[in-house]
């Protein structure tokens, strides 16, 4: 019986075309990811040379003035991109994977996004997660929408009834054939991606694979339930397509709009304004209060004193710069909190909608989501502080360029160790799958 069903499925040219289409879309997506990853690696690899060159030039021009060298030199921090990011580019095309900062105030520099063409960004990436979330369900719907209704419309349903005591079994067997075919395409694509891009076989990759597969199962279960209502083929197709459009367009778009309204981010602009005032005002104010605040923040530098009627000194200059960050710090923290809240709201929405959940889970394990962005931002802050604290005493004590071993000032990188809660990832799928299975099971019992 089963072999007959397999033959019936694979002899249908439309089904094969659909599978090939899906496979091609997947290959295209993997290629997009590979291109993205190559470009990203290229930028990071070049940055090493850029930084060296910039240090060399500035050291040459301002040999005797370490303060001036560090006014210009940008030190880079890399946000390590896992190979898995090729399958889910997420927000990595907007948020740069490498950021260079001088030891002047950070707030002025941290919002610099990478260059991108907004039209491309708005269209979004054609990555593997896109194919999985948007295109796989369509093929599943196309395979399943008429499994029962077609028999009824052809008039063979009664015949089936007579021959088999439980026609539900036959429908399940047909669905199994389709499920195996879609799973096969999915697995083949992942194997190709793994070998082509060289993704390590680790826990994040396993989570990525399983979450995608559960998403596929979810759609099969949804179809199983919808077709069990025994509406006409056209109606089934309409209902499933409406569900697809609602889940993939209406809900995330409306959700995003509500989230933006609920958590408006004004703090970013505020932080920019505050750091600007915080720093520039200090030029026109007495020097000692600035220094007092600076010594409070960093008592270890209180031995580098500044007199009120001193002319310009780097100690005072960098203290002023730091005031910019200090005065913007609360807005800056609030901004990060707002982004976190926006992300949390999206995660919550994901518990109800597997497509959003899949997108978020996969961007999380690939290090391309909002959480990674926020972690990188705080790592950048730490990096900036580390560099400042290293250079401050050298500058303040009037050392020249030779006091620094410039070879140590190489590009550094940050890796985000993602602890993945397996329960949080898989439970939402399992709940929905079991729910849909039970609902359709009730309907299936009534089939005969």
């Amino acid at each position: 019986m089963n072999t007959y069903l397999y033959k019936q499925f694979y002899r249908n040219r439309a089904y094969i075309t659909a599978l090939v289409f899906l496979w091609l879309a997947g290959i295209m997506a993997i290629y997009t990811g590979k291109k993205f990853l190559e470009r990203n690696h290229d930028i990071i690899a070049k940055s090493e040379a850029f930084q060296k060159e910039s240090i060399r030039r500035n050291v040459q021009y301002h040999k005797d003035d370490l303060g001036l060298i560090l006014y210009y030199v940008k030190l880079n921090l890399v946000n390590k991109t896992p190979q898995l990011a090729a399958l889910n580019i997420g927000m990595r095309d907007l948020n740069p994977s490498i950021q260079g900062v001088t030891i002047r105030n950070l707030e002025e520099q941290r919002y610099n996004a990478d260059f991108y063409n907004p039209s491309n960004a708005a269209a979004g990436n054609f990555d593997f997660s896109f194919v999985l979330v948007f295109l796989f369900p369509l093929i599943i719907v196309a395979f399943c929408y008429n499994l029962i209704s077609e028999e009824e419309e052809k008039g063979t349903w009664k015949l089936l009834h007579v021959q088999s005591s439980r026609p539900g079994r036959l429908i399940d067997a047909k669905m199994r054939v389709r499920f195996m075919a879609v799973t096969a395409v999915y697995v083949v694509l992942l194997v190709i991606a793994k070998t082509w891009i060289g993704i390590p076989a680790d826990l994040p990759f396993a989570v990525f694979m399983i979450s995608g597969w559960l998403y596929i199962i979810f759609w099969f279960m949804l179809c199983r339930w919808i077709i069990a209502f025994r509406k006409s083929s056209a109606q089934n197709a309409l209902i499933l397509l409406i569900l697809w459009v609602t889940m993939n367009f209406i809900v995330p778009m409306a959700g995003n709009m509500v989230i933006q309204k609920m958590y408006p981010v004004r703090e970013s602009l505020k932080a920019v304004m505050q750091q600007r005032e915080g720093y520039h005002n200090k030029w026109d104010e007495p020097k000692l209060p600035t220094m007092k605040k600076f010594y409070q923040a960093y008592p270890q530098f209180s031995k580098f004193t500044v007199e009120e009627n001193d002319a310009f000194t780097w100690t005072w200059y960098y203290a002023m710069q730091h005031m910019g960050d200090m005065e913007a710090s609360s807005s800056s923290r609030q901004y990060a909190e707002k982004m976190q809240k926006r992300n949390n709201a999206a995660v919550f929405l994901g518990y109800l909608f597997p497509n959003i959940h899949t997108q978020l889970t996969e961007s999380r394990v690939a290090g391309t989501g909002m959480d990674n962005h926020l972690e990188f931002a705080s790592a950048l802050k730490k990096f900036h502080e580390k560099k400042r604290l290293f250079f401050y005493p050298l500058i303040f004590s009037g050392k020249n360029a030779e006091a620094v071993n410039w070879n140590d000032q190489a590009v550094e990188s940050f890796e985000d160790f993602r602890n993945i809660s397996l329960l949080q990832v898989f439970l939402p799928y399992l709940v929905l799958i079991i729910l849909l299975f039970s609902l359709s099971q009730i309907k299936y019992r009534k089939l005969c």
Binding site: R39, S54, G90, M253, N256, M257, V272, M273, I356, L360
Partner: protein, 481 residues
């Protein structure tokens, strides 16, 4: 052609579509969604606009209330300029989420616009923006397909097509009638949206009502053409399919290709054919070129050494301190001229890459009518990339003027001799800052936008012609049984 028969079929088709309760429900739902997104959009727009206006005022006040200072300090204090979105972004958000709202302007350094909405949102923003334009561009075509897939196929299945023919209707008349009937019904989704958008945009108070009306008057016919093409496609696929169910499957396939697949594929191709440099590469190349041309911060730079020598010779003095004006201000002015020239050249090169990507996307409108309407709608709503580049250019002009005026102040009013310790500081009076005008962003005029990006409009007319020709051709080949 007997017009009365066509008119009869049109009326019959339209009435049949209107009669169904389900169709009326769908129409109302779509309209409600459009109204809802317009309302939410208006709220969002007013919030952002008032926020940006507040910051603009604050920036201006703080600028005017700077104390007496050295002009170069002021040049580094800089200015923040903000981009206000066009009120029609309520209708078509376009690229707004991906464009930065603020640029920090300072001397001898060009910053980019930062802080886009997408930059502070998560992955959810990538699913798109819920705007009337999205509903009208992507969802309504799907509905048209659903309403129209059986228009001819079903009649053939029921053998009523033959009866129509016997009664004197030719294939051509049937197809024209069905298409126009479906198209007229599709206008119920479209036309009621615009009064609401018009009022919302006028209420926002950010643009003249004549400007808004003018833009809407080009947007409406554009969507009408787009729907005409979609209606034609639906009826023709219905006419040439074996059964209504296969017509539906083919039409859903067409929708997927036109709405989901091609737009992404086209952007992907544009990005790969014309790759753009990364920020870090761009900045490094820029720095290198500026150093080659002359670095005003480098004391041994040959260009500035030559300049110094010629000045000393002209004024018959030995040292720059003896010059009758502030020498370092003069150097800075020259440096600004050189560096912004180079910057603009680099910026133009980058811009050219983006322009090529844009032209590729515009040209793709000849393959995908969705690209035509999407790009045209954005252009007309003032939320497209071209309008944004105009903002960037205005900001850069303003920055250059600011830097050079401050350099002039330094040249004229700052002493050439460094102030002694404890002596009077080298500063200019605070009233100088007030004289410098505020930045006002001017929206890009519609005429200019369309003249610069005429391809999407041409593509729409092309699709109109394709629709008409396809109907004419297929009318003669319609199989009745």
């Amino acid at each position: 052609m007997n017009r009365s028969i066509v008119r009869l079929i049109i009326r019959k088709t339209r009435h049949d579509l209107l009669k169904s309760r389900q169709n009326r429900l769908i129409t109302v739902t779509v309209l409600l969604c459009c109204m809802l997104s317009t309302g939410l959009g208006l709220m969002q727009y007013r919030d952002t606009a008032s926020q940006i206006n507040g910051y603009r005022k604050q920036v201006r006040e703080q600028w005017e209330h700077r104390p007496a200072k050295h002009p170069h300090r002021m040049a580094h204090y800089g200015y923040l300029v903000f981009r206000a979105a066009h009120p029609l972004s309520i209708f078509d958000n376009g690229l707004d989420d991906y464009l930065g709202n603020v640029i920090f302007l300072e001397a001898h350094k060009q910053n980019t616009a930062n802080l886009s909405e997408a930059g502070s949102s998560g992955t959810l923003v990538r699913f798109g923006t819920f705007s009337s334009a999205f509903i009208l561009q992507c969802i309504v075509p799907l509905i048209i397909v659903f309403l129209g897939f059986g228009l001819i196929a079903k009649e053939r299945e029921d053998a009523t097509l033959k009866i129509l023919n016997v009664q004197g209707a030719t294939g051509r008349q049937i197809i024209w009638g069905k298409t126009i009937g479906l198209w007229q019904f599709s206008l119920f989704f479209l036309l009621p949206v615009f009064p609401a958008v018009f009022f919302a945009a006028v209420i926002s108070g950010a643009a003249e009502w004549t400007d808004i009306a003018g833009r809407l008057l080009v947007i409406i016919p554009a969507y009408m053409i787009y729907y005409f093409f979609i209606s034609t496609l639906t009826v023709l696929v219905s006419a040439f399919s074996k059964s209504s169910s296969s017509a539906l499957v083919s039409l859903i396939g067409c929708w997927l290709i036109l709405v989901v697949f091609l737009p992404k594929g086209i952007q992907f191709a544009a990005q790969n054919i014309y790759p753009a440099p990364s920020r870090i590469a761009f900045e490094t190349n820029l720095e290198q070129d500026i150093l080659k041309a002359g670095d005003s911060h480098n004391p041994d730079d040959p260009h500035f050494k030559k300049l110094k020598d010629s000045l000393l010779q002209y004024y018959h003095v030995k040292k720059t301190e003896e010059l009758p004006f502030n020498y370092s201000g003069f150097v800075m002015k020259e440096g600004e001229k050189i560096s912004s020239g180079i910057y603009i050249r680099h910026q133009n090169e980058l811009q050219e890459i983006y322009n090529r990507q844009q032209r590729f996307s515009d040209a793709s409108a000849l393959i995908d009518p969705l690209m035509a309407i999407r790009n045209f709608s954005m252009t007309a709503a003032g939320t497209d990339f071209f309008s944004y580049t105009r903002f960037q250019r205005q900001a850069e002009e303003y920055r250059y003027q600011m830097a050079q005026e401050l350099n002039d102040l330094q040249i004229e009013h700052i002493s050439n001799i460094k102030p002694e310790k404890g002596g009077p500081p080298a500063i200019v009076g605070a009233d100088s800052w007030k004289k410098f005008p505020d930045f006002t962003y001017r929206f890009t005029a519609l005429g200019l936008s369309i003249r610069e990006q005429w391809l999407p409009l041409a593509a729409l007319l092309f699709w109109l012609a394709v629709g008409i020709l396809a109907i004419e051709w297929s009318g003669r080949n319609l199989k009745l049984i």
